[in-house]
C-alpha cells in the first residue's frame, strides 16, 4: 500500500501540473508555485513527510499516477463518473467555475448568443466538457494547455473563452485596455486529489486532512491567495 511506502520513505510524491496557472505554475525564479503546490506543501508538512513534486503535464498526469511514479495527483482534477472508474478521488478541496467570458463589446446574455461563435478552451478540461455539452452549436477552439489558450486570447486568435475566472484574470493582466468579463457561469465544479484505485488508507488520511483544513479555513486561505476569492462556504457535490 502506498501509505506504507510513504511512511517508510518519509516522503510523499505528489504529481502537479505546472502548466495550469494559478493552480500550478512557476514563479519568476522558476520555482513551483500556485494553489495546488501550496496545498501539497501544507499537506506534506502537516503529515510530517518531505514533499516531492512530480512535474506532470495534462496528457501524462494519469499515467504517472497509475504506474506508481507518483503517490497522488493534485492537478485541479474535476470529479466525474467516467474518471471514477479509473482512479479514486479524495473529498474536494477546491472549486473551479466554468464561465464564458468575452470583452465588453461582445454581447452575450444567453447560451443562444454563442451559437456559431468561436469559443476558446483548454482541450480535455472540464471547461471543454461543460461548454461542449451546454453551448451546443458553438465552434470549440481547443488548445493544449491554459498557457496557449491565454496566448490565443491575448493575441486575438479567439475572443470568447470557455474557461475559469482564473484564466480570465491572467488574460486581463496582459490586456488592461479591453478586459474580458464574465458573461455566463456554466457550472461550479469541485476538484479533488486523485489516487490509484484501492489506495484507501492514503485517501483516508488525505480526506481527513482536507476536512480539518476546510473547517479551519486554511484551504480557503490558500485558495484566496491565488484566485482572489475565498472558497464557498459549502462545497458543491
Amino acid at each position: 500500500d502506498s501509505l506504507d511506502t510513504i511512511k517508510a520513505n518519509k516522503k510523499i510524491r505528489v504529481a502537479i501540473d505546472l502548466g495550469s496557472p494559478p493552480f500550478g505554475m512557476n514563479d519568476s525564479a522558476m520555482q513551483p508555485t500556485g494553489s495546488d503546490v501550496e496545498t501539497a506543501k501544507a499537506l506534506a508538512a502537516d503529515l510530517g513527510y518531505a514533499l516531492e513534486i512530480v512535474q506532470v503535464t495534462s496528457p501524462n498526469r494519469v499515467p504517472f499516477l497509475l504506474t506508481g511514479k507518483a503517490d497522488m495527483v493534485m492537478a485541479s482534477f474535476s470529479i466525474n463518473e467516467e474518471r471514477k472508474k479509473v482512479i479514486d478521488f479524495s473529498a474536494p478541496y477546491g472549486v473551479i467555475q466554468v464561465v464564458i467570458a468575452a470583452p465588453k463589446n461582445v454581447a452575450i446574455t444567453d447560451l443562444k448568443d454563442v451559437v456559431g461563435k468561436r469559443l476558446g478552451t483548454t482541450r480535455g478540461s472540464t471547461n471543454d466538457k461543460e461548454a461542449t455539452t451546454q453551448a451546443q452549436g458553438a465552434e470549440m477552439v481547443r488548445y493544449d494547455d491554459d498557457a496557449t489558450l491565454i496566448t490565443a486570447l491575448i493575441s486575438g486568435q479567439v475572443n470568447i473563452m470557455a474557461s475559469s475566472p482564473q484564466v480570465m484574470a491572467a488574460v486581463n493582466a496582459r490586456r488592461p485596455n479591453d478586459p474580458y468579463e464574465v458573461k455566463l457561469v456554466l457550472k461550479t465544479n469541485p476538484y479533488a486529489a486523485g489516487f490509484r484505485k484501492g489506495d484507501d488508507a492514503l485517501r483516508k488520511v488525505v480526506d481527513d486532512w482536507i476536512a480539518t483544513n476546510l473547517a479551519n479555513g486554511k484551504l480557503s486561505k490558500i485558495y484566496e491567495t491565488y484566485n482572489g476569492v475565498p472558497l464557498p462556504a459549502e462545497m458543491p457535490k
Binding site: L18, G19, S20, P21, M25, N26, D27, S28, A29, M30, V54, Q55, V56, T57, P59, N60, P63, F64, L66, T67, G68, K69, D145, D146, A147, I150, T151, I154, A170, A173, R174
Partner: protein, 217 residues
C-alpha cells in the same frame, strides 16, 4: 508580471543540457542498435531480413511521442516500476533512432556496388571479411553525411521526452511561458538555442557531403 529575465535564460540553458544529454544517449544507443538492425537487414538469412524490415517499419510508422509513452509506462505496467525516466527516455529515443539509422545505413551498404561484393568473393574472402574489409569501409564514407544530418533530427525530437517528465528545452520554454506569457520572446529564444545546437551539425554534415562528393569524382 515580471518579464523575461536572466533567470529564465539560465533555466533554458540547464534544460538545453538535458537536450544535449538525451541526444547523446539516443545517438549512441540508436547507433549501436541501428548498426545491428542494418546488418540484419542485409543479412543472408531471409527471416532476419524480414524481422529487420518489420522492426524498421514499425518504428518509422509510430510517432515518437507514442513510442516514448508506451515504453515508459508500458515497462511500468509490465512490472518494472522502478525504471528511471532517463532510462526509459533513452530507450525510447534509442529505438526511434535505431529505426532510422538502420535504414540510412542499409541504403549506404547496398549502394556499394554489387561488383565489389563479387570481387571480394572471388578473392576468397569470407562473408565477414567482405563486409568488414571491403563493404563497410566504403559504406562508412557514404554514411557520414546523412548520419550527421539525422543527428539534427534527434536533437529536435528530444523535445518529446517531456511526455515522460523531462524538462528539456521545449518543455522549459513552455513552463516559462506559463509563468510570464510572452510566447514570442520565449519561443524565439528557444528557437535560437536549438539553432545554436543544430546549425553546426548541419553545416558539418553538408561539408562532409561536399568532401565525399568531390573524392568520388
Amino acid at each position: 508580471m515580471p518579464g523575461f529575465s536572466f533567470t529564465h535564460l539560465e533555466f533554458l540553458a540547464w534544460a538545453a543540457l538535458w537536450t544535449v544529454g538525451l541526444s547523446v544517449i539516443a545517438f549512441v544507443g540508436g547507433g549501436l542498435l541501428g548498426f545491428v538492425v542494418a546488418l540484419a537487414r542485409v543479412s543472408a538469412s531471409r527471416s532476419l531480413r524480414i524481422a529487420a524490415i518489420v522492426y524498421i517499419q514499425l518504428v518509422q510508422g509510430t510517432p515518437l511521442l507514442i513510442l516514448l509513452f508506451l515504453i515508459y509506462f508500458g515497462v511500468a505496467i509490465a512490472g518494472f516500476d522502478a525504471v528511471p525516466a532517463i532510462i526509459a527516455a533513452g530507450a525510447g529515443l534509442t529505438v526511434y533512432s535505431s529505426g532510422f539509422l538502420a535504414e540510412i545505413w542499409r541504403g549506404c551498404i547496398q549502394s556499394v556496388p554489387k561488383t565489389q561484393w563479387e570481387a571480394a568473393e572471388c578473392l576468397a574472402l569470407t562473408r565477414w571479411q567482405r563486409m568488414t574489409r571491403v563493404v563497410l569501409p566504403q559504406a562508412l564514407r557514404l554514411a557520414t553525411a546523412p548520419t550527421v544530418g539525422f543527428l539534427v533530427q534527434i536533437v529536435k525530437n528530444t523535445s518529446l521526452a517531456s511526455v515522460v517528465g523531462f524538462i528539456e528545452l521545449s518543455q522549459a520554454g513552455k513552463l516559462i511561458n506559463n509563468s510570464i506569457f510572452e510566447p514570442f520572446t520565449i519561443f524565439i529564444v528557444v528557437a535560437v538555442f536549438y539553432f545554436a545546437l543544430c546549425f553546426p551539425l548541419s553545416t558539418w554534415s553538408r561539408s562532409l557531403e561536399r568532401k565525399l562528393n568531390v573524392s568520388r569524382r
